[in-house]
């Protein structure tokens, strides 16, 4: 069964591109435009293996809060956080979560995803 990734990014172009890149690499992609939408998806379905989320997004929650909530409620779900604005210091992200700075290079994305034990 292919790994299912939930991509959370308010910028539609970047989300589109991330989704294409991941699909091409063999992942199953579900998209959300903000943390509230992402949370609704996580609650609806139990087959999300990984969360790939931006930090700065409109809505009631930002990506860091979403990551924390995901780690707490869906501990098996791997977490990757991306941002162009912040570089989270140690302790801000849940343990085990990865961080990638924007703009996200395809090479770096693949290299980070390949290191996640839950996905192999």
């Amino acid at each position: 069964m292919p790994t299912r990734v939930l991509v959370v990014e308010d910028d539609g172009l970047i989300r589109l591109d991330l989704a294409d890149t991941l699909s091409e690499a063999g992942y199953d992609v579900v998209e959300a435009a903000n943390a509230d939408q992402a949370l609704a998806i996580l609650q609806q379905r139990s087959d999300i293996n990984m969360l790939l989320t931006d930090i700065d997004m409109p809505g009631s929650m930002n990506g860091i809060q979403l990551a924390a909530l995901t780690a707490e409620r869906w501990p098996d779900c791997a977490i990757v956080v991306i941002s162009g604005r912040y570089t989270p210091v140690k302790g801000v992200l849940p343990s085990g979560a990865r961080f990638i700075a924007k703009p996200v290079s395809e090479k770096l994305l693949h290299s980070v995803l390949s290191q996640i034990p839950e996905l192999s």
Partner: protein, 492 residues
């Protein structure tokens, strides 16, 4: 006592003149004939280190010691045993009244009398502290005048130099761009404060002569007195940067929070003891706020640049994915980046948060429409748009126009586009834009969407609850873009 030895020790010069003088040839007569008063005072004078002078008898014969001789300059020794008037002829108009008063029985004491004297052959200012005392015989008749005095010319000059220096310092202090105040004593009494210091603490406050704790009572609770006490006690200066201090400096004495750089410098007296504190202060409230705004702005710009690079990356990658060949990809990519660049100009021209939907629409029509035969009809309110959505709206409009020229209404001579935008939603909280094509070739809804279509459906960047609908009516394409109005207009 051996009077001669005594004179030689304390007044060698005048002592010798006194002994060698032929007094019998003077109006005073031989020394043996002198009254006891004259002999006693002469002895006192020649035994004293303090400058002293005797003016005796109606002849006003003048006798003095070495100390006084120094004050006579080059007139000594010729003046010894001469008349008082011949000694001070150049200032006689000032001396005469007081010597006359002494002979009339009235003494005079002055702390500082100023003379212009020619005792060294040139005019010079001289200052003396002295007393003229009448000397009487047992029956009360005035025999002469005894004067003990000190030349204080050098002290006066030093005092004046000090005053001049202080005055000069004050002038420098007044012109200083920083606040300067001088506090004296262990309870830090304001001795001086320049204009700028007054402006920092609040104009019109009476502080001179008051201790800091009374003059600026609001700083007591803020620990300022403790800091002053420490400096006064330790003699060590204190440098404070960007300290927040509440001062009752408003027009009605209301409290204002300021950020102040200051230095407390102990001022020491000649003995090395701390006598006061020199305060130098600079109100850096506005300066620091400016710096923080600048830092925030440059951080903001960096962040925006990263976002834009991410957007360019996504556009490039999408363009390359969907283009049939490299030539097409290159052309499309350069057009799309050109659109972003133009949209960026609007953001920069209008300043932050000042671009409007109309400006972006006009940029698109300038490229894709013909002013002599306009085919895109536009209508909509003057609506502000945030910088993030403005980049995506420009791109959407560009892709819609490009597609219309290639396959849609603008590809035939009769086709038109109606582009409208408004504030919608039940509570007026949505932005709505419609692009309606008509009169073009028949649309084939089953045709696969091009890469432009994907970019259109990516929606408005940075907005909440955005939706893009593309409906292929038989009459032409209808595109509807909607999103939350607040995030559409917000600056990120």
């Amino acid at each position: 006592m051996n009077q001669t030895t005594h004179m030689q020790l304390t007044n060698p010069d005048c002592g010798r003149l006194f002994r060698n003088h032929d007094w019998s040839a003077t109006p005073l007569g031989a020394v043996e004939t002198w009254p006891v008063e004259l002999r006693t005072l002469t002895s006192v004078m020649m035994g004293s280190l303090q400058p002293m002078l005797l003016v005796w008898g109606p002849s006003q014969t003048t006798i003095y010691n070495d100390g006084y001789a120094a004050m006579c300059g080059s007139r000594h020794p010729a003046a010894f045993a001469g008349t008082f008037r011949s000694l001070w002829h150049d200032i006689w108009d000032q001396v005469e009244p007081i010597i006359d008063a002494a002979f009339e029985g009235r003494g005079t004491a002055m702390d500082d009398i100023e003379f212009i004297m020619h005792r060294n052959g040139y005019p010079e200012e001289a200052h003396f502290a002295f007393s003229y005392t009448p000397v009487r015989d047992p029956w009360g008749a005035v025999l002469g005048m005894f004067c003990a005095c000190n030349e204080i010319t050098s002290q006066v000059a030093a005092r004046r130099a000090e005053r001049t220096q202080r005055e000069r310092f004050r002038q420098v202090f007044e012109l200083s761009p920083g606040g300067i105040a001088m506090l004296m004593g262990s309870n830090h009494v304001f001795d001086y404060a320049n204009e700028e210091y007054h402006s920092i603490i609040g104009r019109g406050r009476e502080i001179i002569g008051k201790p800091v704790a009374d003059a600026l009572s609001e700083v007591v609770r803020q620990g300022i007195i403790n800091l002053l006490d420490d400096v006064y006690r330790s003699g060590e200066p204190l440098v404070a940067k960007d300290r927040r201090i509440d001062l009752n400096r408003g027009p009605d004495g209301e409290k204002q929070s300021r950020r102040i750089d200051f230095v407390y410098q102990p001022m020491k007296d000649d003995a090395g003891n701390v006598a006061g504190i020199l305060v130098q202060a600079r109100d850096v409230t506005e300066l620091r706020a400016d710096e923080e705004r600048r830092d925030l702005l440059s951080h903001e710009l960096g962040h925006r640049l990263k976002n834009q690079l991410a957007m360019v990356q996504a556009i490039a990658s999408q363009t390359l994915r969907s283009a049939p060949d490299l030539v097409t990809a290159r052309r499309r990519l350069s057009e799309r980046i050109g659109v972003l660049s133009d949209a960026h100009d609007v953001i920069l021209e209008g300043g932050r948060g000042a671009s409007t939907v109309l400006q972006l629409v006009q940029q698109m029509t300038a490229v894709h429409d013909d002013p002599s035969n306009p085919r895109i009809r536009i209508a909509g309110p003057n609506l502000k748009i945030g910088s993030r959505p403005s980049l995506s709206l420009s791109l959407i409009l560009h892709e819609l126009a490009t597609n219309a020229m290639k396959y849609g209404a603008l590809s035939s001579a009769e086709g038109t586009v109606k582009l409208q935008w408004r504030v919608g939603g039940e509570t007026g909280d949505r932005f709505e834009l419609t692009w309606a094509e008509a009169g073009g070739p028949r649309v084939d809804p089953s045709a696969s969407p091009g890469s432009g279509t994907r970019l259109i459906t990516a929606g408005l960047n940075g907005t909440l609850d955005g939706r893009v609908e593309l409906v292929y009516h038989e009459s032409g394409l209808l595109c509807r873009v909607t999103c939350d109005l607040e995030t559409f207009q917000k600056e990120h």
